[in-house]
């Protein structure tokens, strides 16, 4: 496969080759790719690489997580906040399979990862050897690319290709499985970065005719609406999007993964679409005359029933991945390409406009949502604490500059709905896969990649216990993340569905929880528990002021529900406020 005709390499620097062993070559490749932190867990089949990590410890920092799933999610958090490739490493068999959830999460959320797994000696492949598992077979449906290396000499080219594929075009996870004999074997080492693979077109060429056609539709639309997704962040197109929105005066909504690309406070930012998104953008999706989708993929949690989704509107789809065009929603005009370039090409073709009365419709609906939902969420008058008021305090203390890493469930929806985002890449959450257990390790990776940023993890009492062992990593590595557990003593989101759709039959959703504060203190992490409203503001203040990691448990109302809500399978315009 990796013959010279099928891949292109960086031109220029001609290096001399050096005779080294495969395991050292792996580390040298990582360093050449600019990797200075990776996450992983050792074991038999990857030990030669760990031996080299020891020798190269001044140049590359290996973070020992407490579970390989933690390593994968930490690498994801690292990638999501920095735009760099996250690297995770594990041994064969159980080590490799433990990475899978994180890899699947990275695949569906387009996160660039390179995962390196050890494998048994190549003569033992297929013999059911100790800790042999077909990780290439297992990971195939959840990787952008994967490959098994059985010869030391293949290592530089395969790893160069892995990094190139992971980060180019629509990013994604790559898994490279390396047999132990390839790690021990020698090679003439020379590293050349990969710059092209002949069977792979990462970014389709922009067709200027489609951009012109898009501009024409936008210029004549009376009620245009934008829905942007993570493609804007991955394409580094935040400024271009802002310019487009402002020039053409188009109300713009975001998907959960698109959050933070445009500041929350921007007057044309009309909120989140989808199942627990805002009332106005969901309702008005079925009123607009032009829907402009930018770097988003019409997930079913965004569209609700497709039969009744934006049927009245023309649709323009700006997208890097041709397979997304017409996959779920038919696009009248598809503009293929990188979002930064296509939006930049669009901008000069747009007429200046302001759709004031149309924007007013969003404001009117927001007022209804505020009255019926938001007010009670963020400034409650009832006795029990709400998740929304906790988020409000965090906004106040962080001034909207924090990166919020949320887990999965009610607290996630509340975090995404109510966080104020001033900076891009500030909403790190498991969107497509909805992986409970994501937030704690992802927050570790995010904080290590961006130490200058405040990183606050918002986690449910359920999901917290799915990767709670990573407190050990936080303690050992002294990662100053702030951890907030919103404890409702329930698997809240599932309980909400049981209440609404299963006549309150609370099957296995109530949890008797341990003393979370004691557990955090067991890891020598400063910890506090809040049960009353009067204590909340000070506790959040103290947490944000802390220079070290800090754990805050907030006991919230047990049976609160998240609204608005589009019931599964219903139309976006049937969104419920209660």
């Amino acid at each position: 496969m990796n013959n010279t005709e099928t891949i292109k390499k960086e031109q220029g620097i001609t290096q001399k080759t050096e005779r080294i062993c495969g395991s050292e070559a792996i580390i040298r490749c990582l360093i050449a790719e600019g990797v200075d932190i990776l996450y992983g867990y050792p074991g038999g089949a990857i030990m030669p690489v760990y031996d080299e990590l020891y020798k190269y410890r001044d140049q590359i920092h290996h973070v020992l997580t407490r579970h390989e799933q933690g390593a994968a999610h930490a690498a994801q958090g690292f990638a999501r906040i920095s735009g760099r490739v996250g690297v995770a490493m594990a041994t064969s068999g159980p080590g490799a399979t433990n990475l899978i959830t994180g890899i699947a999460d990275a695949q569906i959320d387009s996160t660039p990862l390179v995962c390196i797994t050890g494998q048994v000696f190549s003569p033992l492949l297929g013999s059911d050897a100790f800790q042999e598992t077909d990780i290439v077979g297992i990971s195939t449906p959840v990787t952008k690319w994967n490959h098994q290396v059985t010869k030391a000499s293949e290592i530089p080219e395969v790893l160069a290709k892995a990094f190139y594929i992971a980060k180019s075009g629509r990013p994604g996870p790559v898994l490279i499985d390396i047999t132990k004999d390839a790690q021990f074997g020698e090679l003439d080492f020379k590293y050349e970065k990969c710059t092209g693979v002949r069977s792979y077109i990462p970014v389709p060429k922009i067709n200027t005719d489609t951009v012109k056609a898009a501009a024409e539709l936008i210029n004549t639309a009376k009620k245009p609406m934008i829905v942007w997704g993570q493609g804007v962040i991955l394409g580094k197109a935040e400024e271009e999007l802002k310019a487009v929105i402002e020039k053409a005066g188009i109300p713009a909504a975001w998907t959960i993964l698109g959050a933070s690309a445009i500041p929350t406070s921007h007057p044309l930012n009309i909120g989140m679409v989808g199942m627990h998104g805002n009332y106005a953008p969901n309702k008005l999706t079925n009123e607009c005359d032009l829907l402009i989708a930018i770097g988003m993929r019409f997930d079913d949690r965004v569209t609700g029933s497709l039969d009744t989704y934006a049927k009245q509107a023309k649709v323009i789809h700006f997208e890097i991945d041709p397979a997304e065009i017409n996959k779920n929603v038919y696009a009248d005009i598809a503009v293929l390409g990188n979002s930064k370039e296509s939006l930049a090409a669009l901008l000069p073709l747009l007429n200046k406009n302001s759709h004031e009365s149309w924007l007013q419709e969003f404001k009117d609906l927001y007022a209804i949502e505020f009255e019926k939902v938001i007010k009670n969420d963020i400034s409650p008058t009832k006795e029990g604490l709400t998740m929304g008021e906790v988020l409000k305090q965090i906004n106040i203390e962080t001034k909207g500059n924090a990166a919020i890493v949320s887990d999965v469930g009610q607290h996630q929806m509340i975090a995404c709905r109510y966080s104020e985002f001033n900076k891009t890449k500030s909403n790190i959450t498991s969107g497509g896969l909805g992986t409970m257990g994501f937030a704690l390790p992802a927050a570790i990776g995010a904080k290590m990649a961006a130490p200058e940023r405040e990183v606050v993890a918002i986690i449910g009492d359920g999901g917290y216990q799915m990767n709670i062992q990573e407190l050990g990593t936080i303690f050992q590595q002294k990662v100053p993340v702030k951890i907030v557990v919103l404890n409702n003593e329930f698997l809240g989101m599932v309980r909400q569905w049981q209440q609404l759709f299963f006549d309150k039959r609370y099957a296995s959703t109530e949890m008797t929880n341990p003393d979370f504060v004691t557990i955090a203190k067991g890891y020598y992490i400063e910890a506090k528990k809040v049960t009353k409203r009067e204590e909340l503001a000070d506790a959040v203040k103290e947490m944000i002021a802390s220079k070290d990691s800090y754990f805050l448990e907030v006991c919230v109302e047990k049976e609160d529900n998240v609204f608005p809500m589009i019931p599964a399978g219903a139309s976006v315009s049937d969104i419920r406020l209660s």
């Binding site: 013959n3 490959h147 002949r198 069977s199 997304e324």
Partner: protein, 177 residues
């Protein structure tokens, strides 16, 4: 777009890599699309493999899975074609007791009329090969079944398209970049 289920021949040009078959079949499996036949071989381009896959799906589905194939890093291009747009055939092999050749003179007529080819003959058995459309091979199988077939096997479809496949240009473009 057309929602009626039709037979499509899918052609996928790929790099020659272990594991690619797995990736491709997983795309069908996830969508509950039954593979009617699958053939893989060297293509007209040195070092490039070609999968020929027959499925019964709607054109909407065909368009979408072509997108999924092309998204795979090691897939160069993928196409779908209707029956009218391709020239295709299959091949069947029949192993039959040699005695029958002499005891049942009708068999000789069947062989002649069907344009089947005798691949080998020995004391115990002879082997017939018949290339053509599925129904031609099936009809021969039915005719011979009356006398008893020791073994039968039929290949997957192989097909070429009437339209030109612009793979070479694409690969040249990469080399000239």
């Amino acid at each position: 777009m057309n929602k009626e289920i039709k037979t499509f021949t899918i052609s996928i040009y790929t790099e020659n890599n272990i594991g690619l078959l797995n990736r491709i079949s997983a795309i069908f499996q996830r969508r509950h699309i039954n593979i009617e036949s699958l053939t893989t071989s060297q293509s007209e381009i040195e070092g490039v493999n070609r999968f020929v896959i027959v499925v019964n799906i709607t054109e909407v589905q065909a368009k979408k899975i072509i997108g999924q194939f092309e998204k795979q890093v090691e897939v160069i291009r993928a196409y779908y074609h209707t029956e009218e747009e391709t020239i295709y055939q299959e091949s069947g092999m029949f192993k039959i007791k040699s005695d029958l050749l002499f005891e049942e003179p009708q068999i000789q007529n069947i062989i002649k009329e069907s344009n089947a080819r005798i691949v080998t003959v020995n004391k115990e058995f002879f082997v017939l090969e018949k290339s053509g459309r599925r129904n031609e091979i099936e009809s021969l199988r039915r005719d011979l079944n009356v006398f008893g077939i020791m073994q039968f096997v039929r290949s997957g479809r192989i097909a070429v398209t009437k339209e030109e496949m612009k793979i070479t240009e694409m690969l040249l473009a990469f080399n000239n970049q």
